[in-house]
Amino acid sequence: MKPYRANVMVCAGTGCVSNHSLEIKKAFEEEIQKRGLADEVQVVTTGCNGFCGAGPIAVVQPDGIFYQLLKIKDIPYLVEEHLLKGRPVPRLMYVPPEEKIHIPKMNDIAFFKGQMLVALRNRGMIDPENIDDYIARDGYRASAKVLTTMTPDEVIQMIEASGLRGRGGGGFPTGVKWESCRKAKGEPRYVICNADEGDPGAFMDRSIIEGDPHSVLEGMVIGAFAVGSSEGYIYVRQEYPLARERLVIAINQAREYGLLGDDIFGTGFKFDVDIRRGAGAFVCGESTALMASVEGRVGEPRAKYIHTVEHGLWNKPTCLNNVETWATIPAIIMRGVDWFTSIGTGDVSENPWGGSKGTKVFSVAGKINNTGLVEVPMGITLREIIFDVGGGVPKGKKFKAVQTGGPSGGFLAAELLDLQVDYEQLTEAGSMMGSGGMVIMDEDNCMVDMAKYFLTFTQDESCGKCAPCREGTLRMLQILQRITDGKGTEEDLVLLEDLSHYVIDSSLCALGGSAPNPVLTTLRYFREEYEVHIRDKKCPARVCRQLNVYTIDPNLCVTKGHGCGVCRAQCPEKAIVGEKNKAHSVIQDACKKCGVCYDVCKFDAIQIS
C-alpha cells in the first residue's frame, strides 16, 4: 500500500455523476499526475455524499475540507493551491444561505452537523467498489460475530430488543417479522431486499446501495442466518443502473472473499444473493406484488391474510425488508441494543410497537436549499429537518407544507412543523413515515394541484386488479381535474371525501389504501384553497392555469421587450396581437389559458391575475 498523505473523496452518486463528477475526478488525477503528487495524494470516488444540492462534491481528507459545485476548470487551481501548497480554496467552499461566510470543514456545515449517520455510516468514507475499504471500517465484523458466536434466536432477540422497525414505510417491527418467519414451516426460505423505491422524489435506498452496498449484503447475511435462509434476492428497479452495477461488483467481491456463498467463515452456513430487476411498476414495491414479479408473474398484490413470512416467494417462508433496514442491522449488532434504543422516541422494552428507535434517512427535496439525503434520529422535529439541516426555503419564500411518505403520504401544514417525526405521530397527523420522501412546498405551490399530481401518479400506477383502487382513483382524479379546470361544485368535495374513504377501506393493497391520503390531508389542512378554486374559480398560487387570466403589461412589453413578438409567435391559439416595437395584448376569449406566453416572455411582461 502506497503511503498516501491525502485522499480526495470525489462524490460519485447518481446526482453528482449526472453533473460530470467522473470527469472532475479524471481532471483531479491528471492534475495530480502533472504536479508529481501521484504517489502522495489518492483520488477516490465514493458513493453519494448526501448533500446532492451541492453537487458535484469533493472532500479532501484528512483535512475534511468540503468543496461544492465544482467545475472541471476549477480543478487545476484547487490541486495546486490545496494539495500542493496546502492552502484550502475558500471560493469553492460551502456558503450557508443566510450568512456569506465560507465554511471549510464538512462537519461544521449545518447540513451535516444535524445528522447522525447509522445506515449511512460509511458515507463519503469508502470506495463502494472496493471491499477492503468496507472491511477497514469494521465491515463484515458483525456478520462474523453473528455467525461464529451467536445463535439465530439470540440475533432475533437482539433485533427485537433494539426496537428496529421496517424503514420501507410500514414500520412493522423487524424482530417480530424475523421471529414469525423463523417459526414458519417450509423449506427453502428466502430473504428479499426491497430496493424498488417507486416513490417519486425518494432516492435514499439508491444512495445506500451506491455508496455502501456491502452494508446491505452484510445485513442480509445476518438476517438469513436468523431466519434460516440460504437464498436471497435484491429487487432493484430498472431505473437504478449505477446502483445495480455497484451491487454486482460488491456481490462478486463478497463471494470472492467467501463472505457470501458456501461455508461462510468456515461455519458451514451457506447464503448467496442474486439480483432481480424491477420493471418500474410502483405497485411492485408492495411485498406480495414484488414476490409475484420475482416469480416471473404479473406484479399484482395478493390478499393480505396469507402472511408472506409463511407463504411468500414460491409459497415458501420469505422475509422481506427495505434496503435501509438491512443496512442498519450490522450497526445494531456491532454497537449493541442499548446504543440503538438510546436514539429515537418511545420505549420498546416490553413491546416493540412502543416507540420509533434509531435513525431514519429522509430524501429532502422540493422548495429547500439543502436538497439531499438526511439521516436524522427519530423524534427530531420537522422544523429542525427543514430549517436547520435543510437550510430553509430558498428565495425567502414562505414555507407552506411538507409532504412525507411519498405519494401514499400526506401533506402537513406549517402549524405541524413542531411535530416530532416518528411512525405514530406522522400517522396520526394523516400522513405516514413511508419510505422517507420529504417534499417541501412554499407559497408558490397550489395544494389542489399537488394533490392532483400525486393522485395522477398513484392512479396511473394502480395495477387495476381490484375495483375500488381502479375505479375510485380514476373518478377522484376526474373530480380534481374538474376543480382545477374551474368546473368543480360543492358536492364534488363531499363526493371526493366519500370516494377517498371508500378507496382506503375497500382496496386490496396499500397502494389503494393510501392513494387518497394526499387528497384527504389537503382537504383537512387546506380546505379553503379548494373552496377558492370552486367558488371564485381562482388559483391563489396561480398554478392551475385554467383559472388564470393572462394579460400583457403594455409598458414592460414596449420598454423592455420592444414588442419582440415572441409570445405572439408561440401562442398556439393566435390569441396575442401586436406588431414590432408596439405593446402586444391578449384576446381573452380566444385565450385557452395554456400559459405558454408566460413561460416564453423574458421580460415578465405577462401578468397573471
Binding site: 500500500m1 503511503p3 481528507q61 484528512p62 500542493l84 477492503d132 475499504d133 477497514a136
Partner: protein
C-alpha cells in the same frame, strides 16, 4: 482468494488501516511540511519524500503527513511542524533530509522533541 476467516478480516483492516485513519483525520501524530512558494524553493519537496519513505520503511500507520501553505518564516525554510496528540506543536526549521529523519525517529516515533533543530514550541493559532 481462499475463504476468509475472522483473522483474515483483522489482517485486511490492519493493512488498510492507514487509509481509514487518513480519511477519518484521526492519528497519533501529525507532521505538517510547510509548502509555501519559498518552502518549495528551499527544497521542502525532498523533506516530504524522505518522510514518505520513512513512513513506508517503519510501516507507520497512525501518523498523518500533510502540507500547508507558507508558515511565514521564509528565511528558515524548509520548515515542518510536528504535533503529537494532546501536545503542543513543535516547529522545526532549516531542515535537511537526515535532520528530518532524526526528528521523525526521535520525536514522531519516540515522542521526544529534538531540541537543537526546534525553532519554537507551541503554535500560532491554527484552525
Amino acid at each position: 482468494m481462499p475463504k476468509l476467516s475472522i483473522e483474515d478480516l483483522e489482517k485486511i483492516s490492519e493493512r488498510v488501516r492507514r487509509t481509514t485513519l487518513l480519511r477519518e483525520g484521526a492519528g497519533r501524530a501529525k507532521v505538517t511540511v510547510h509548502m509555501g512558494t519559498c518552502g518549495i524553493a528551499a527544497g521542502s519537496r525532498k523533506i516530504i519524500d524522505t518522510l514518505l519513505r520513512l513512513v513506508e520503511e517503519q510501516d507507520v500507520k497512525d501518523v498523518i503527513l500533510t502540507t500547508s501553505g507558507c508558515a511565514g518564516l521564509c528565511s528558515r525554510e524548509p520548515m515542518a511542524t510536528v504535533e503529537l496528540l494532546q501536545e503542543a506543536p513543535v516547529k522545526y526549521v532549516d531542515l535537511t533530509e537526515d535532520k528530518i529523519r532524526r526528528i521523525f525517529l526521535e520525536h514522531v516515533l519516540g515522542g521526544r522533541p529534538v531540541q537543537e533543530y526546534a525553532l519554537a514550541v507551541g503554535s500560532e493559532r491554527t484552525q
